[in-house]
């Protein structure tokens, strides 16, 4: 079994190594130029594919609405401050209720 696996690995190495070398290291300048030409063609094809999704006809730059962002930022500031004040009010009310309850308990225990 080991011998069979070793034979398969060896066979694959012998078969694929020259192909891999030929792809990564073109030995002739013409082949290199051809390879770069092919790569450029692939890139162009990719760009072409990407361009097919673009439907912009007007200005090329992305238009980010500054006014809306500014409004959002100021709304966030006031909203968070308001929520914090509401939380403090809630805590204050909770403490007042607790104090009221405790004072009733003290009065009741004093009557007994």
């Amino acid at each position: 079994m080991r011998a069979l696996i070793a034979a398969i690995v060896l066979g694959c190495t012998i078969l694929f190594t020259p192909v891999a070398i030929a792809q990564t290291q073109p030995d002739e300048p013409d082949a290199a130029a051809e390879a770069s030409g092919e790569a450029a063609a692939v890139e162009d094809a990719a760009e072409e594919r990407a361009a097919q999704f673009v439907g912009v006809r007007g200005p090329e730059a992305e238009s980010v609405p500054g006014g809306a962002l500014l409004l959002g930022a100021y709304a966030i500031v006031w909203l968070l401050l308001f929520l914090f004040l509401m939380r403090m009010r809630g805590l204050q009310r909770q403490t007042a209720e607790e104090l009221e309850r405790l004072s009733l308990e003290i009065r009741a225990s004093g009557d007994r």
């Binding site: 980010v64 962002l69 500031v77 403090m88 607790e98 104090l99 308990e105």
Partner: protein
């Protein structure tokens, strides 16, 4: 009896003086906010490159400064609590952490709105942004720890240690722009190109208004926390009477 009456009189006088100072700070802060809004939207010019979105800067930067105040106060209160074991210091620590986290949240939410226009992205892992997020997470952990029911002595001490750990991050936030050359703007530091004089006025007013607001919020929150602590103490005494 006489001593008790005098103590009550002293206490009520102190409370009345404290409430006068509170009212003064409150009215001064409200007036300053009105002046700040006028300066930001009417007096200061629109920035040439970024347009109107640059006006986020006038609330974003003072919020970061108020965050430093909150977290700094929390660390001081926590150190005081660890040294003296006094509940009043603990209340200051909690108040500072909550107010600091509030302003940290404002910074972390308004910053991306500006960045979307200026950088084209909502968020980037710039050193200043990352260290600010880290500080927010440390103090969020502090608040999570304190919100788990009635915090006992161990929770309070552990949270105080966490606040001191968070304090280490504050100089990192401040100097990260200079040390690690991120993309965050440095217009008001020594290396920056500076601002127009009207912009400086608006920013200066905003700094003062946010300082007043941070002081008011910390003051109010610490007072509520002290009352909560006293109520819990009273409840405990009643239960064990």
């Amino acid at each position: 009896m006489l001593a008790s009456g005098r103590a009550q009189y002293m206490s009520s006088t102190r409370q009345s003086g404290s409430s006068t100072v509170w009212s003064l700070v409150l009215f001064a802060t409200l007036a300053l906010f009105a002046a700040t809004l006028y300066a930001i939207f009417i007096y200061a010019p629109v920035e040439q490159q970024m347009g109107i979105v640059q006006k986020i800067f006038y609330f974003h930067v003072p919020s970061a400064y108020a965050m430093y105040i909150g977290f700094g106060v929390s660390a001081v209160g926590s150190a005081g609590y660890l040294l003296k074991r006094d509940a009043r210091w603990d209340a200051v620590g909690v108040a500072g952490a909550e107010v600091g986290t509030l302003f940290c949240l404002i910074v972390l939410l308004t910053g991306p709105l500006w960045a979307r226009k200026a950088w084209g992205v909502w968020w980037t892992w710039d050193p200043r942004l990352t260290t600010t997020l880290l500080a927010g997470m440390i103090f969020a952990a502090y608040l999570a720890l304190r919100s788990m029911g009635n915090a006992g002595e161990v929770e309070k001490r552990f949270a105080a240690g966490l606040a001191l750990f968070g304090l280490v991050d504050l100089p990192l936030i401040h100097y990260s722009v200079q040390r690690w050359r991120g993309v965050h703007p440095t217009v008001i530091t020594g290396k920056g190109g500076g601002l127009e004089s009207e912009m400086y006025w608006a920013l200066g007013l905003s700094f003062i208004a946010f300082t007043g607001l941070a002081i008011l919020l910390i003051w109010a929150r610490a007072s509520i926390e002290r009352q909560r602590e006293e109520t819990a103490q009273l409840r405990f005494e009643l239960m064990h009477r």
